[in-house]
Assembly symmetry: C2
């Protein structure tokens, strides 16, 4: 390892450490911080954001990188490190330090305001915060200066993806999903959701969720499970924390929520121990990240094979509650497909429509053709148009997701990309482990984890997401695999 | 406000914010961090320590301060700001950045090792970590370069105090405490501790502790109560968190522990909202801080007047447990004076002996006349000498306190100073509120809180601790008030 490369890595590792502190402060705010601490947290986040900006834009770092680029990096990973570092530095250089600090402070305050507004179903109290976040986010997109401002934001979450590519992809997806949804709606013997809407005690839910997460391979000594208003995963490597929320009258919320977050967490816990603090070591694009969470939540967690093993255990965990429900009835209940209000609880078919709806709304918000004050109405109109239903409250409508309060515009599409990546990964996994279903039926989850560890996690961002996708699946990303999977699965369940 | 002063404040407020992030990371490690996260936490703390060092030693900050010193500060608070900033900067300039980073990383690892060693009663596993912390702490004391290395460390916690002054003070204190202890030992009708050693359910203890903390004026919306291996308080202003631990067979542990920590927390919550991020705004010396915690724990919490109001409530909180115990028997039980092993659970008389013992040991550790490997034996010898008892295990002996793992040498004496400050403060309080006891008997705690808010908290470090003491009590700090208080109180309880 050359001295220059070593110095370059040292600097980036410190930047990584500081970014993880920012992430921890966010976890703390969402999980344990006292209500009145938001202003101080805003100051802290602003101070850290300024420091991280200083270190990424430091001219001395630039010189090290120029020298590496001229002399060449020691090996393939070194080249990936330089590529990723250059990407982040180039982007950061364009955003003024003042803006970075103001945005960090504003977001801390806006997230606190959002949590309260959601609890009180009071969009108006959140509106001024959202306006400020939007205005700073527009300013940031402008500073980055791509021809299309949405692309500037998207690039942070899914490098290389563009709004126009998303429009094409989502157009295709919508065009294939709506006919599928029509078939489902027309089914004569649809499964019923009643079994998962019985009474499931919160404490027993937590115990069961912990068992599943542990069986998936999630290391609780390198993580923890807490409650938050909006479920999420924070941290990396040996400190990866997941959160969920419990609904005593709806089993799916926590159960599939924990599998989702544990899927994210396995990715972070599965990074290369030698490289996780290097520029190319951390997890890849958010689309790839969501492919991991949605993979466990749906492709595994909502599969029949998985429940062959776990359904008897679930029955034991909730004595008497499910005695009269057969495995098939339960399998149907967790796969009921029906337009619903809450994205994170949506079935696999309608889920993507929730994403397309948010994508269209946030694109308009960023362009300024939609203003924050008009968002609740626009939300309901769009919901009616795409899902055929309207939220009775803003708490279950436009306020349901934390993302916009955190300035995450360009993030939602990655969930749908995750579904598409995931379906393609599953095709390869089935080639590599032909007896996957019988293994799942025996409760063997670790082969799945290890396959994901080896094929995806350990690489970090060694390969850009499109290349990683080609390497693992042999194909470009598209909607075909996902639609084929959904058609087959829901055809069986709904009998068409 | 001049432009220079404004720029100076801005820079120090950012330093303050970053120091609070360091403190939060420590809280997180001790309360919620997954076991395997210690190494990453060490990296994070090292990165932050380096950045804070950079900002305090920044030549531009030095220029601002020189200019302020030359032109004069806007007002009295400005002068205090400059004084405190100069103190911190001068100290920091002497400690190499490398050392600051290495020490921060080592401490994060050592604290994790300590918690495990304590749980496993395994001093040997902790010894190498302690050795490294000690070696770095000696190096730091040397770098600061006072003639006496212990003074260099003490100065961080109790500015202006010296080892030699402590020796005199503690000599005086020991000389007065030992005869008092002899009288107590000779009492013919000592109270019994049995009532507080009954079975008190953990959950009910927590509920009761929360009520007391709230009644003291602790704002739970600007704080929280958690469990940790060693109880402590972290944070400031509107985010001040306290921790405790519960022993179902000993009421005192959590009850007086929470009053102690809530006393610290009231100080932090009571700082001047306009000044808490300025150099002279935060809480004063640790001796003053401990005066607040020990004040609530003992001078209020172990007073008869307090329990006239709260004892009936305690009985209600634990139905049937204390039915046969009179108020006086309970008051005796919480004031049983007897050499015991655990410092934080010690009575008011023997408590100071625990401190003197630690003071003598850490002074020898720093000087290098005592090595880490010989510490368990030295601990027991000293314990036998001063308290007349020896710990049966290192977990309840040398491993009981977190401080040395955190590199806190020169910290323990501030607890005894807190007792002395507190006794003097109480004398003034009784002059200002002559009917204090009847107010306490009616459950009125807020007048006490408000008096402390106005006389101590709001000033922050506007005055150096010795000056604050003179201003509030009209006297220099000494052992007289404390000894008078202890003699009167324990004379009544033990009948001499």
């Amino acid at each position: 390892m050359t001295e220059t490369y070593k110095l370059f890595l040292e600097r980036w590792r410190t930047i990584h450490d500081l970014e993880k502190v920012q992430e921890l402060l966010d976890w703390d705010q969402q999980v344990v911080m006292p209500r009145k601490g938001a202003e101080q947290r805003g100051n802290q986040q602003a101070a850290l954001a300024g420091l991280v900006h200083d270190r990424i834009t430091d001219p001395e770092l630039g010189e090290l990188m120029d020298s590496l680029a001229a002399k060449g990096t020691p090996n393939e990973d070194g080249a990936a490190d330089l590529r990723e570092a250059a990407r982040e530095r180039e982007r950061t250089m364009k955003i003024p330090r003042r803006l970075v600090k103001e945005r960090a402070r504003t977001i801390a305050m806006a997230q606190a305001a959002w949590a309260q507004a959601k609890a009180a179903d009071d969009f108006e109290s959140f509106q001024p915060y959202l306006e400020k976040v939007l205005s700073l986010t527009r300013e940031m997109a402008q500073a980055i200066g791509t021809p299309n401002p949405y692309d500037a934001l998207l690039d942070e979450f899914e490098p290389g993806m563009t709004e126009s590519a998303l429009k094409t992809l989502f157009g295709d997806l919508k065009g294939r999903l709506l006919p599928l949804l029509d078939k489902i709606k027309g089914a004569t013997k649809p499964p019923g959701e009643a079994p998962v809407k019985r009474c499931f005690s919160r404490d027993r839910q937590e115990v069961f969720c912990r068992v599943i997460a542990k069986d998936m391979g999630y290391d609780f000594e390198a993580g923890r499970l807490d409650v938050s208003v909006h479920p999420f995963t924070a941290g990396t490597f040996r400190d990866v924390r997941i959160t969920t929320r419990y609904d005593e009258n709806f089993l799916n919320t926590a159960l599939f929520g924990v599998m989702h977050e544990a899927g994210h967490a396995l990715y972070e816990q599965g990074l290369d121990p030698e490289r996780y603090r290097n520029p190319s070591g951390p997890s890849s694009s958010l689309g790839i990240h969501e492919s991991q969470s949605r993979f466990w939540e749906n492709l595994i967690g909502r599969s029949r094979a998985f429940w062959v093993y776990y359904y008897p255990k679930l029955r034991q965990a909730f004595p008497d509650v499910l005695d009269d429900v057969s495995l098939d009835a339960f399998y149907g209940a967790i796969n009921v497909c029906r337009p619903s209000l809450i994205r994170v609880e949506a079935d696999e078919v309608t889920y993507n429509l929730h994403i397309i709806m948010r994508f269209e709304l946030e694109s308009a918000l960023l362009a300024g053709t939609l203003e924050a004050r008009d968002l609740p109405e626009a939300w309901n109109t769009k919901s009616q148009e795409l899902l055929g239903i309207k939220a009775g409250s803003n708490a279950r409508g436009v306020l349901q997701d934390v993302h916009w309060s955190a300035g995450y515009i360009g993030y939602f599409p990655t969930y749908a990309l995750g579904n598409l990546y995931g379906a393609q990964f599953m095709e390869t996994l089935r080639q590599d482990i032909p007896d996957l279903d019988s293994r799942l039926e025996r409760g063997e989850l670790l082969p799945v984890k290890e396959w994901l560890n080896n094929r995806i996690h350990v690489h970090g961002r060694r390969y850009p997401a499109p290349e990683l996708c080609r390497r693992v699946t042999g194909k470009e990303l598209g909607a075909v695999s996902s639609i084929a999977y959904l058609t087959r699965k829901f055809g069986e369940i709904y009998g068409f």
